[in-house]
């Protein structure tokens, strides 16, 4: 069946029969499969090319690649990690990575915790506002961030904070705390949606048995429901890590001081500072992308299931 499915129109039956008789083997070459794989492999090459080229470029001095006729497509005279060390130094990446760490870790933990609170309440108990709440959260998460940025910026620059938390502005803007807060507020929507779909699939008898045994609501949440949700939480954590790590917009709008920005938004300095040295820029951007690439390589399954959990409700 699969032979006819695979691009039946591309190769006519006649051709297939001729090939089958000419080779005379039990398993003839299925030309439709050859066409299919050729297409899939060329697509794969196109997908890998920019990253592979960036890696190749990052190992070579710009003076060499830009002066030769073949550009990047030449044999290297010299390969080294020199671009990486200088991009790391010039981009002050150590500091930006540290800032990123201080944002991602609390934002990730709190988003998942708060989202599982709401998801637990709306999926295990019926209130009048269950659906309204879920819709509000989902709608908020779907809105383009730019819709809310102007009032948000004004709100942020008017909420006072003690100088121990906000030494620069005395307000919520220009702080790590402020960025953590907006990530939580914005991402709760998606996580609640996914987790409530997941929790609905847990038989309600589980919670009831616990409550008959005298377990309070918090205990049921913590002891019964949360452990069952571990796969969904792992998937969401992977996905949310990448999203929060990759944030550019909140950081460039809510933090005006360059040295307080997390790493992805610091890429803007990179494109200005080394405007002429494309290989240095390639090294810098690959370094910025490295944590997400590593997470993807190790936790690919979680990553994809996180996305599909959101799209395909349980």
């Amino acid at each position: 069946m699969s032979a006819t499915v695979a691009g039946g129109q591309v190769v006519s039956e006649g051709v297939r029969e001729r090939v089958a008789t000419a080779t005379g083997r039990r398993r003839p070459i299925r030309w439709s499969r050859v066409v299919l794989h050729t297409f899939l492999i060329s697509t794969a090459i196109v997908m890998i090319m920019p990253i592979a080229l960036a890696f190749y470029a990052s190992l070579r001095p710009y003076a060499e690649t830009s002066s030769r006729k073949g550009g990047l497509f030449t044999f290297p005279k010299k390969l080294s990690f020199a671009n990486y060390s200088s991009a790391f130094k010039q981009g002050d990446m150590g500091r930006h990575l540290w800032v990123t760490f201080l944002i991602v870790v609390p934002a990730l933990i709190l988003t998942l915790l708060l989202a599982s609170f709401v998801a637990f309440a709306v999926s295990r108990y019926s209130f009048r506002f269950n659906l309204v709440l879920l819709m509000l959260f989902t709608a908020g998460n779907l809105m383009p961030q730019q819709v809310i940025i102007l009032p948000l910026f004004q709100i942020y620059s008017r909420i006072p904070l003690p100088s121990s938390i906000s030494p620069n502005s005395g307000h919520l803007n220009n702080t790590i705390f402020g960025l953590v807060l907006i990530h939580i507020a914005f991402q709760i929507g998606f996580c609640t949606f996914v987790l409530s779909n997941y929790m609905k699939t847990i038989p309600k008898e589980l919670g009831e048995a616990a409550s008959v045994d005298g377990a309070s609501v918090p205990k049921q949440f913590y002891r019964v429901i949360l452990p069952i949700c571990r796969p969904a939480l792992a998937a969401l954590a992977t996905l949310e890590f990448t999203w929060i790590y990759n944030d550019f917009f909140w950081a460039v709008t809510l933090v005006s001081r360059g040295n307080l920005r997390p790493i992805t938004s610091s890429i803007k300095n990179l494109s200005g500072q080394f405007l002429t040295d494309d290989n240095l820029v390639a090294a810098g951007s690959l370094m910025i992308a490295l944590p997400t690439l590593i997470v993807y390589l190790i936790l690919q399954k979680q990553f994809i299931s996180g996305l599909t959990l959101g799209a395909n409700k349980g």
């Binding site: 794969a44 920019p50 990253i51 990047l72 709401v118 019926s126 269950n130 709760i188 309600k204 799209a311």
Partner: protein, 331 residues
Amino acid sequence: MSTDLTTAVPRKRRRRRYSQLTSGDKRALGFMTGIPTVIHVAFVTVPALLTIFLSFTKWDGLHGISSVRFVGFRNYWEIFTVFEDTLSAAIFNNVILLVFLFFGPTLFGILLAYLLDKNIRGTRVYQSIYYFPVVLSLAVVGIIWKSVIFSPGQGLLNTVLGRTKAGHQIDWLGDSHKVFSFHIPFLDNAIGPSKNFLVILAAIAWRHAGYIMVLYLAGLKSFDPSLREAAMIDGANEWKTFRRVVFPTLKPINVIVVVITIIEALRTYDIIAALRAPLGMELISLEVTKNLLGEGGGNVGRGSAYGVVLLVLCIGFIIWYLVNNFREEQT
């Protein structure tokens, strides 16, 4: 809609009724829903509503709230007349981006998902390769493409075209000349796509295709294969089977894919901003933040008006998505 669900929920009694709980449990549940809701409403919902309100005012954002002046529709009048060039260019680019995303990478992603759903050898390898650009931030994608694909002195495009020598180079991301342009009524200036904007679409597509592929692949996995076999036995060819049987049954995922494509097109920001927003790459999202802060304060009113334009363009699709997603729960 909300009246429907209040009547529907007690009838089914699938979940535990709130009234059966002890007061301590009620307090716990109130706390568990209350805190996240307050955070979300205060920092997402309220700002969204304030955007609408502020779009009818004039305010520099520096002075106190008492200096907010109500000006009616003046901001809208301004952005549609005085700043007409920017707005029309931005809206035009957003439309181009949307149409392109839909007919380019979205359909391509669906095609990839369909092909990979056939149990062919190496599906998983292909899948991980196609998907990996999605883990990159669009800002990073823009910079990577800039340094190795569009670079005038050494990039892929100029190398292939033999234009890497100084004086012969093509500045792909700097050329804001319009490929073609046309006049439409009520607009003084011609609109059309800039060369550099068309070029950057390729980088956006590179990331978008894999995203759609994964979403659609999950939808296809839930599709009952016996339906397809039945159609094939009835003599339908492959295209017909897909169009008449597979595609209609996947309606929920189709809605999701369409809405995600539209929202992604409207919220595209990072890649252009990371490239320092060259001339020719105007987008509505960038017009909003231009008014965040400026010489002597921002123009909160005008920026909010741009924000409302964005909101108006997406709100219908968000509602469509919500209805599609939560419909089952009402019945």
